[in-house]
Amino acid sequence: MTTSKLADHVRSEANVHTSMHDISQEINVIDSSVDDDKLGHQPPNSIRYNGLIHMIMITINELFNVNKLKDRTKKQTESMLGLIQFYIYHFLLLFIYILITIYKKFQTIYRKFFIKFYTLIYHHNNSPQLIRDDVNKLNKLPKTLSCILDLKDKDDEMGGIDGLINQISELTAWTLSCGIPVLQIYEFNGKLITNKSLLTKLNYKISKNLAKYFGLNNLPNYSIKIPHENLIIFGPQNTSNSEIDLQIHLLSRIDGKPTIVELTKTMSELAINKELTIQDISIDLIDEELIELVGPEPDLLIYFGPNLDLQDFPPWHIRLTEIYWEPENYDVNYSILIRALQKYSNCVTNVGK
């Protein structure tokens, strides 16, 4: 059983081209106007409720809500003593929560200030030269950079599909300036992947943004790869022969656990047909297949959200990945990227004992 055959099997199961398929010509024909509303329901945002007064009022509500308490404690104990005991302990817990709220308020202010400060210190000014200068100080760069992006509400700042496309195009320019060869973009829903006209839009936006950074005459070569569909799109002016400066991989949830499941299915079919024995399945085999099907293991993973949420990122691939996120940060921001890279370069020296 050759390894490429296994991956081909998985792909043919999913009605996907077994060889890399170039759709750069196709997608350029399609009209780029796309209606955001047709894209279906977007993941909701929760509303933040952590005002101190709100907190206190809820606590009072909680205290008066004796009926509720009785109900709750039924699971615990029926006796009056148990109820009172529970009442006291829960009151203490809520009191601790109030203290935590106050503490977190100050922490939030501090962190917001901190992020603002770094945003002032590190700014790209749309110049690859400045980014290059920042990066040259580092002693180690990741070979593969992975970013988890959120698809925000349309009404939010940098929200909706347009916001996402903007974020990707900015990240592309930054990583190209840094000299990182592979950029993986993970977006849970995979909205971009399923829609070809959006890919057109993305391609257009990226090249436009690169022109802003590098000038029209020396645009870098890039390619957008969608591992799950096995599709590749080349930038506007380069052919498949010229050297690629940056590969962009678009990943979504489907590249995580579902791909491992697909691989398992394929292997079980082969095993039923006696083409594969169970002893053949090894870490190396699966590793090879998943690199073929999804992409390389990222060295650095950046989450551009306030609190880490891995969102079903491909589990096989984050074994040794350095994870970075900045609390209280809501944007895709150059200062976050550069701080992540700094941290990554420092960590390597720490690890080598």
């Binding site: 709750r72 699971k75 829960h90 925000k152 491992i260 079980s268 699966i286 074994r319 040794l320 690890v351």
Partner: protein, 355 residues
């Protein structure tokens, strides 16, 4: 500073009581059901404090016992500790041997006091690829599992020797094997879940890594990428990690879960809640679930009816809190000092080979 305090008479007693009280308080709020711990930093601690490496491992073991005591007091059902990675076999022979000896010693102690285990009610399970284990150690571990298998109160999973990739491959193998025997088997994520080593444990809620390393080092990868799991990284090295730090982590988790519906705090993505509750789809924008905790409570108890809403008191606040984590408790709360046994190692060697 804590060193000289711990020399006071009665310190242990005070600590145990404090843990009990803390456990009772925190149990009235959301508590993680399954906690994973990467016990990293024993060797670095030993180097910094100029003690022998095996002393460091030994101290790490004491820390583990103390932290686990707090976890079980707080109502955590299951704790999974990363004791030894398959990659750790690449360390020096002397160290591997010493770790194996430590494991043997501690597990033998447990076996000799089997009645104690029963009293404390902790079930010990060894997760990992037993093929890599020396036969004498394997025999002792099997005996421990056998002796404690009937305990119900809490579970301790000891990962020894373990890597998550090995676990996933093992699970895939078993699924493939099952499918060759049963052709109608539906292969999906739950099939793989079912064959993971942690299949009898509740879903992982909290993963703690010490020594300020922002890496998962091949531990519970499949389980922890779930959007419901929160990852906490603390700066202390493992032997310096005190129950007090653990308490802070637990309180923070509890607060975040209560307030934002996610153990990590406010997230801009609440996708996981929709995904994993597909049986009872919750509309997150329905206006009623304005707080994270309410969503959390609703999703835990989908059939709880809404009739108990208190219209009179502060009707503009639509928070209604359900309590569900406060089960059992308070009965058999004893010290479990001698109970959990294991070797504690850092799992860095796997990272080294990369660079």
């Amino acid at each position: 500073m804590s060193d000289w305090i711990s020399t006071f008479p009665g310190y242990e007693q005070v600590l145990t009581t404090a843990k009990k009280i803390f456990g009772k308080i925190v149990q009235t709020g959301p508590v993680p059901r399954h906690v994973g711990i990467i016990m990293d930093g024993n060797r670095r601690y030993a180097r910094i404090n100029k003690i022998e490496i095996k002393e460091g491992h030994s101290l790490g073991f004491d820390t583990m016992a103390s932290v686990l005591e707090l976890l079980y007091e707080s109502g955590v059902e299951c704790a999974t500790v990363y004791a030894f990675s398959i990659e750790n076999f690449k360390r020096s022979n002397a160290e591997v041997k010493w770790l194996m000896d430590l494991a043997k010693l501690k597990f033998e102690q447990i076996n000799q006091h089997a009645d104690l285990c029963e009293k404390y009610g902790v079930k010990i399970k060894v997760l990992g690829n037993k093929r890599y284990m020396p036969p004498d150690v394997a025999r002792i571990l099997r005996k421990t599992e056998e002796l404690t298998k009937n305990n119900k109160r809490a579970t301790l999973n000891v990962c020894f020797p373990y890597t998550s990739r090995d676990e996933m491959v093992n699970s895939i193998k078993r699924v493939v094997d099952e499918s060759t025997k049963n052709h109608d088997l539906i292969i999906d994520e739950s099939a793989i879940d079912r064959h993971l080593y942690t299949s009898d444990s509740p879903p992982l809620d909290l993963l703690i890594r010490t020594s300020g390393t922002y890496r998962l080092s091949d531990f519970l990868l499949w389980q922890c990428v779930s959007p419901d799991c929160s990852l906490v990284i603390v700066d202390q090295l493992w032997p310096a990690f005190r129950p007090w730090h653990m308490a802070k982590v637990l309180l923070n988790y509890s607060f975040n879960k209560y307030w934002f519906g996610h153990g990590n705090g406010y997230t801009t993505s609440n996708k996981g809640i929709n995904l994993y509750q597909s049986s009872s789809v919750i509309d997150l924008n329905d206006g009623k679930s304005s707080s994270g905790y309410q969503r959390y409570a609703d999703s835990e108890w989908p059939d709880e009816d809404e009739s108990e809403e208190d219209g009179e008191i502060l009707e503009d606040i639509e928070e209604e809190e359900e309590e569900e984590e406060s089960s059992g408790n308070s009965s058999g709360i004893e010290r479990e000092r001698d109970d959990e046994v294991d070797t504690v190692t850092s799992s860095e060697s796997d990272s080294n080979k990369k660079y």
